[in-house]
Each structure stands twice: as structure tokens, then as C-alpha cells.
Symmetry: C2
Subunit: 205 residues, 2 copies
Amino acid sequence: MILNPDEIEQESMRIIEILISGKYSGLAENLPVIKRVIHATADFDFLESLYFSENVINKAHDAIKSGLNIITDTIMLKSGISKTFTQKFGNNIICHVNEPEIYDEAKKLNLTRAIINIERAVKESPSAIYVIGNSPTALIKLCELIKEGRANPALVIGVPVGFVNVIEAKEMLMNLSDIPKIIAQGRKGGSTVACAIVNALLYSA
Amino acid sequence: MILNPDEIEQESMRIIEILISGKYSGLAENLPVIKRVIHATADFDFLESLYFSENVINKAHDAIKSGLNIITDTIMLKSGISKTFTQKFGNNIICHVNEPEIYDEAKKLNLTRAIINIERAVKESPSAIYVIGNSPTALIKLCELIKEGRANPALVIGVPVGFVNVIEAKEMLMNLSDIPKIIAQGRKGGSTVACAIVNALLYSA
């Protein structure tokens, strides 16, 4: 049994490469992100369902290396992003969702905290990197603010998960043609998927 | 589009119930946990792959309500567990994995930090609730310590994910017949799956 962390990582990637061999018809530049998502989920659906806009890996690397803020929709996702790398590039990871003001405003307006969190983040960092791993309402709000010209993200990772508003939210993002984006098409996604994508981009930046 | 959080939750569960209707042959008492995992992943494989030991839901509720510590293998998982409920029942959520001592010892021994984290946790809280969402080496170490009589968890949630040591780790746990357990059989699992299971148990406790 392999107990050395580097060897486990290498062996995992070797097995994934064997299992996806001949099954991927997309661009090679996107494959490291896809492999890391499969590594984090053991779910090969992501080989087909991950959408990458044109040249998004290079654009993501530029955004990371210029030290842009990374906005997340959950504290769980924020926790999972590699601090070793964000500290290296100077990216702050920001999520307001657990702050008392956000609770109060969401309750008052009868909206999700995810929506209020995004509104606040866009006011502070309209051109940041936005990573939505959980809440479709956060992604819908972000897309609305982009359409209104109030947000202009350097990158949107749109991988919310679930059964209500999820497909619609991802379609809204897909239709914003000028925004660099990575989307998990369909219902699947989640904090681990979002986290794997961000960390793959950080490792390779 | 539904933007009220309670309505989104209810509608999600209603859709999941329709989609799994007639496809579940297990015990009704385990279904709320399964539904919450599907809610968190949109992955219906978990309808078949989640294993529940006998009467584990009642045992989990007793463990939670007696305020036992909850040990996790990642900070990400710790972040996702509902603090509203752990505070209500008095459970501390503990994960040492990011502490400098753990880094040093793992590096010295050429082992994963996950292993050292579990060794430390077992010394402090041998009868706690153990939740392993990511690292098979953490689960293997925990199983070894149980076999040696050094750990006696009130509950083990064994849902690590991946391609190396994962199936083996879950089989080790499965063979520990006296331990109350929930296992995601096969390669799949992850922090979101672990988190969904713990939160489902907390909500219903």
C-alpha cells in the first residue's frame, strides 16, 4: 500500500490517464483541469460535461498571476483552495456569506444569502475571479450584474450543483459570450468540483 | 424562478423524491441521508452505493446528542458542517491537519498529514465521531487503531474518494463489524458527500 503523498498523487493521475485514454476529444490545454476534477470526484461524467471557453486556461493564469481577488459562494469552497498558491500570487479569497449583515439582509428580502454575498462582492471587486460551486442563485445574480455592466469578471467558474435553477443558471453564464468561463454542464458540480478547478489553475499558473 | 431558500430546498427534495421513486429498496430510516447526498452531488449512484450498518441512524443521533467530538480529515469538511447544529448539541469539530506540527511529523515520516492527524485525534478523542471524506490513508490508519483497541469510535463515516487505497480502506472499515458506520462503496465520495451525511444526521438528531 502506497502511503507517501507524492506517490499517491502520481499513481492516481496515472490510473486516471489510463481510464480516460482515447475517450477525450477536447483540447489538451484543458485536460489538467479535467483530470483534477475526476481525481476529486471519481466521476468520469466530467470528462464530457466540463465546458471551457476559448483560451480560458491562459486567461485564468493571467488573472491569478495578477493577484486578483477570488470570490467564492461558500466558506467550504474558500477553505479548500490552496493557500500556498494564493499567498504566492497575492490573491485574497473572499466570501461574505456567513457575516451577520448578510444573514439580516437575506432574511429581510427573503432571498438566499448567496445572492446578497454576490451583490456585496461585485460592489467591492467587480473584475475578480468568481467561483460558484454550490448556489445557482449566486450564479444567476452574478450573470444579471454582468449583463447590467456592473460586474466584469476576469474568470467565472460556474459549477453549482442541484435540481432547482441549476441548468438555467449555467445557461445564463454560457450565453455571456465575452466572459472567460469554465462550466460543469448539467446538474452536477459542487464545492469539491469548484475547488479542484481552482487548485488545478493555481498549480499550473 | 424560485429564489426563496426554503422553497428551493423543498422543491429540490420533491424533485429528488420523484426521480428516485421506486428505485430504492433499502430501509426508510436511511433515506434522508441518501437524499441529502444526492442533493449535494446530483449523483444517483449514491442511491445504491451508500452502506449503512444496522441501526446506525439511531446510534449516530445518540452520539451527536451526547455532544461527542466530530473529527474530520480536512478543513474543508470541517468548514461545511452546520455550526448551528453542532453548537446546539455541544459537538466540537476537530481537524489538526493544517497545524505546523502535523506538517513536520508527516514530512519526517514521509507519510500523509491525514495519517498523523488521525493518530493525534485518536489519542485525544478515541470514542468520537470520525468523518473521513477525502483521504483513504486516514481511514486506513483509523481502522488499524480500532483493530489495535486504541480507538473505539461511536460512528465512522467512511467516504474517501479516489483511485489509490480507496476501495481497500473502505473494505477495512466494512470488516470492522462492531463499529457503527456509513460507507460510500466504490471509488466515489468526497468532502461534499461527507458533509451532506453529517449535516443530514445533525438536522434529524
